[in-house]
Symmetry: C2
Subunit: 331 residues, 2 copies
């Protein structure tokens, strides 16, 4: 802030790199998906457009797993949870009484997945509960710094999608407020969302276990409890959007049937709206899966995309680059 001649003058000058005619989405190949994004944004932001939307209504919501970063061979948060159960196993002999936790301790992923959603929740709760939120975040931060993805041998938070990073940045430059609305854990995502996606913690919505306010030796904290609070998936997504944001989003981005109701909610408001599905079609650079996958199943939402007018991104065809590290490797 500069104090000039008795006036308080706040001047923010943001100069985007390159020319105004430069492509805001350089990692997207030219095609229908890219054109649809650019056209939508132009129509809602040009002041003399009949589809113009004021700044405070420009809300865009993004799923995380499979939409902003990869989710194979399984949700990254589950890999963290299993790693943590393994590390804590010696302190919890009682975990041997649970087939699911026993499987987790032995690194038997199939055994964990065999328990369905209940099994996932059991592993998440065993690994998360009892920690204060600050301790939990430190634990995730340590894990992100040391753990490596089995196929890429990269940090997990390096396996975000370069085209989606560009899309987030582009929307924000055009006055959108960007939110994550994920089935994953709200505090897990908050550890890296600000640095990696430019999305602050208050714009991250996700699943959660309950927490209680506690006095600690040096003050106060929130401590995680082994009790489910909210599953932010399917019809839970519009419910959470309404609770946390309080506005119907103008645009929604997802990749699976877990995002179906969020896409419906965003795109059935009045006026011009935008829905987009990332389809995992690239077995070489990423993964190829849809209707038959246990993780990120895309079936009903794909059937409804045509009639609803949602853009379906074919990762193989539409993305010139998948991960940021491809750019660092040079041509």
């Amino acid at each position: 802030m500069t104090r000039l001649g008795g006036l308080i003058l706040i001047v923010n000058v943001v100069v985007l790199p390159g020319l105004a005619t430069a492509d805001p989405l350089p990692s997207w190949n030219h095609g229908e998906a890219k054109s649809a994004i650019l056209s939508f944004v132009e129509r809602v932001t040009e002041p003399d457009s009949r589809d113009y939307v004021p700044f405070n209504e420009r809300v865009a919501v993004f799923d995380n797993d499979g939409t902003l970063w990869s989710e194979q061979p399984m949700y990254f948060q589950l890999i963290y949870a299993i790693d943590r159960v393994k590390a804590l196993a010696l302190r919890h002999p009682e975990w041997m009484d649970s087939p699911i936790l026993k499987a987790a301790m032995e690194g038997d992923v199939e055994g964990v997945l065999a328990g369905g959603k209940g099994g996932l929740m059991e592993v998440v709760m065993a690994s998360h509960a009892g920690l204060t939120i600050e301790e939990f975040k430190a634990s995730v931060r340590d894990w992100l710094a040391t753990a490596r993805h089995p196929r890429s041998n990269r940090r997990y938070d390096g396996m975000v999608y370069q085209p989606m990073l560009e899309l987030l940045r582009y929307l924000r430059a055009e006055g959108f407020k960007t939110f994550i609305v994920s089935g994953g854990g709200i505090d897990f995502i908050r550890v890296f969302a600000e640095e990696v996606y430019g999305i602050p913690p208050e714009q991250v919505i996700g699943s959660s276990i309950k927490a209680e306010f506690a006095r600690t030796s040096d003050g106060t904290a929130l401590r995680k409890l082994p009790e489910l609070n909210f599953i932010d998936d399917k019809a839970g997504k519009p419910v959470a959007i309404s609770l946390h944001i309080g506005r119907r989003p103008l645009a929604a981005f997802g990749n699976s049937d877990g995002d179906l109701e969020m896409l419906q909610y965003a795109t059935t408001g009045g006026g011009l709206r935008f829905g987009l599905i990332v389809r995992h079609s690239d077995a070489e650079r990423e993964w190829a899966y849809d209707r038959d996958s246990h993780i990120g199943r895309l079936d009903k939402a794909l059937d409804q995309a045509g009639e609803a007018g949602w853009v379906v991104v074919d990762m193989k065809r539409d993305w010139r680059v998948v991960y940021p590290f491809e750019l660092q490797q040079g041509p």
Copy 2:
């Protein structure tokens, strides 16, 4: 956005009214409370201060009832709920079977309050449930436009505190993000918070009943259910802050024991922190109540204020003006 010479240039020039040396809090009398606010803000925002806090950590949380607007003779939302129960009474003969709803239908406020928190919830649920959130908001908007406070004969949303409006504006001008954290209903407050307080819906946190995602004749909606979701009061406030904001606030503002844990949470983080309690000491211009009041009881928090270092605002002594309409009336 202006496109100049191939560059995208975003220039925001915010010129605050008056001189740089002008008082950002003109409705606050000079005294300890005002000095403490100005000193805190200066210490955390001056770049060369050893208490400097970066922009993204500048989070300030405000209670609503009794902190940003009046709450006497009872919470304004309860007046709305009773008005609505009365208006709907003919359509709900079954409400006569409930002593609480019968009292509400007859405008017997004492009878409603005699039911304690359970009674309040019964009236709120009867009046809110079944509506989509959009219908509910329209109903609150209509009520705000027509209902008048029994003492001031003003619109309820005209009974906000001018000194707190100035404080909200001042904090935002100094880079703070301002949030409401209220025991009142999240969707009720969102109807007027953006226009009256400059606080967008996504920065309003409050109590809520559950909602479900529903298909409607013309699209989709969230429909309120007659089931409690969350009470954002006492130890619930830090829990909600953690869930919605995901950061420990740097400053907290309240007026009752319902804000005690929020004040504790905000002011026990590391570094310089700020807590403030509005004490209702002005029976002439507003109301005078504290330890013995059923609404907005201030007892434990007042006892702890000294040791915790929280500023206690004496409304009668510290506020030159209480309501904005006093300014419109001229000197």
